[in-house]
Amino acid sequence: MKNKNNFLDRWDKEIKAFFSHKLGIAGLIGVSFLIIVAILAPLIVEPVEGYGAFEDKLLKPSMDHFFGTDDMGLDLFSQVVWGTRASIKVGVIAVSIAMLIGVPIGLMSGYSGGILDTLGTGLTDIFLTIPMLPLMIIVAAVTESNSINTVALIIGIFSWPMIARITKSSTLRVSGMQYIEAANSLGIKKRDIIFKHVLMNASTPIFVNLTIVMATSIITESAISFLGLGDPTTHSWGKILHNSYQSGAFATAWWYSLFPSLAIMFFVISFNFLSMGVRDALNPKISRE
């Protein structure tokens, strides 16, 4: 038998289960589409800058302007396409940070127990209770740089409790397994037990939450941008909606707010479908949706 020690083999049961799940596949297609658009943005549209022509203001959708124009005369289709890039970027950064903080905390909590656990769980619970958006508003308002990276960073920093909690419960389940006891008896270093043996078996629910955090991070970013705290130079969908609200043309120029909102919806639904697909693929009892 050839050497097939790769990712696809380790998870072959789950991968098979995933592809039998319609919603999950739909989500995967949606997410892939978004990623491709984000990467290929410059090839699809021109960068949107400055002001458009006066006579181009608030034009209805047409063949020239698929999504119409905004109150500056700028093409909305381009803005939405570029916004995809911002959204994916925010999601990736936020998720990475949330994982970097949340996973180790959850692992330590779940495996070690004792004081580490009490501390970790306590911290997680407390941060879960605090209303995130107002806190992020304060942080965003107080930070001088409102770049999209900073916003993403902040979202990530406040999303870690979700990840920590799910990591902990998954770790608890795995830590009681006999192969973990076996690894200990074989003299494997504790650090390796936690970050290799436990993690590789506890990570499946974490993947589910990953996709959910991607979805919620765009909602949060849109809210922050909508309130005017976002990056003034980036065309995130929330920023477009902010402009739309400020322009006072919300009611008359329906396209100004519809398309960014649809984009957000598409993003969130895709990632949520993906998460459902992943979740059901990992749950042995519920294999059909």
Binding site: D125, T129, P131, P134, I137, M265
Partner: protein, 319 residues
């Protein structure tokens, strides 16, 4: 049970303590000059000196911290730049409106969402379930301000059925008239705020019911010949609801964010809209005070939900 309430109150107190400490450090340790944060740049020198003394801004950090905590307990949250009034007063004017909106929304969300979710989970795969599921998935991905505006546009402008903003019409006298008026004004904001969280509830409860129904003890109950309704109510729902009630507390925290957006769109005179205005006006004392008060409200509501949950779930009390 008493012991549990004690523990829970203690935990809430610690959470609040950490929250206010966090706020303190965020505002004061950010790159910008902290003094500017809390003092209106247009104050006269004499006023500045007075403020410096009142809030101890010229003293070392730890003294500032204790002054801050001490002031908090006195109920002093600072003075708004724009309105030149005590932040606490401003917030107290507006907090009841926000609480009204949030509590009614939360109540409707739970009363409607939980049964919907239970029934959808129970009749998994049926048309009802698929439709509910589809709506729920759309619901969680809707952008609150957009929904608010669309509703406002259609029902407010176009059809003129419902008021286009605010919480009440000035000039309406007290009594029944007032209630009805306020109620009218609340309809659209509640629908706007409710959508995401209702969808969340439905999905969550549905998932919970599906998990519970696949458990062995349900199979046992059914094989014992237990009537389906009883199975559903006695075993499934009660157990499925436990994680849902737990989630209620967390949803409340997130609902605050939704409230900020909803109030902004509907010009609803609550704390949320106040935050929006404070952001554009760079009125930091209000931001700080609003956050603390909101956090306190959420913490209190979480304690309540946890206690209710402990009442429902016998496992929690024995610990």
């Amino acid at each position: 049970m008493g012991k549990y309430i004690q523990k829970r109150l203690f935990k809430g107190a610690i959470t609040f303590f950490i929250t206010v400490t966090l706020t303190f450090f965020i505002v004061r340790l950010m790159p910008s000059d902290p003094a500017t944060m809390l003092m209106d740049p247009r104050m006269t020198e004499a006023q500045r000196q007075q403020m410096l003394m009142d809030f101890g801004l010229d003293k070392p950090l730890y003294i500032q911290y204790f002054t801050y905590i001490f002031n908090l307990f006195k109920g002093e949250l600072g003075i708004s730049f724009m309105q030149k009034r005590e932040v606490m007063d401003i917030i107290m004017d507006r907090l009841p409106w926000t609480l009204l909106l949030m509590i009614i929304t939360q109540a409707i969300t739970m009363l409607v969402g939980i049964p919907l979710g239970i029934y959808a989970g129970y009749r998994r795969g049926s048309v009802f379930d698929q439709v509910t599921n589809a709506f729920a998935i759309f619901g969680i991905s809707i952008f609150v301000p957009w929904l608010g505006f669309t509703l406002l546009y259609f029902f407010g402008y176009r059809l003129g059925l419902l008021p286009i903003g605010g919480a009440y019409t000035p000039g309406v006298e007290g009594g029944i008239q007032y209630f009805l008026d306020v109620g009218q004004h609340l309809i659209l904001p509640i629908i706007t705020l409710m959508t995401i969280y209702l969808a969340n509830y439905v999905l969550y409860t549905r998932g919970s019911v599906i998990d519970v129904l696949s458990e062995d003890y349900i199979r046992t109950a059914r094989s014992k010949g237990m009537e389906e309704n009883r199975v559903l109510w006695k075993h499934a729902s009660k157990n499925a609801m436990i994680p849902t009630v737990t989630a209620a507390g967390l949803m409340l925290g997130r609902m605050v964010g939704g409230a900020v957006l909803t109030e902004t769109v509907f010009a609803y005179p609550g704390v949320g809209r106040m935050i929006y205005q404070a952001v554009s006006q760079q009125d930091f004392p209000i931001l700080q005070g609003a956050f603390i008060i909101l956090a306190l409200s959420v913490i209190i509501m979480n304690i309540l939900t946890d206690v209710i949950n402990a009442y429902l779930d016998p496992r929690i009390k024995i610990d």
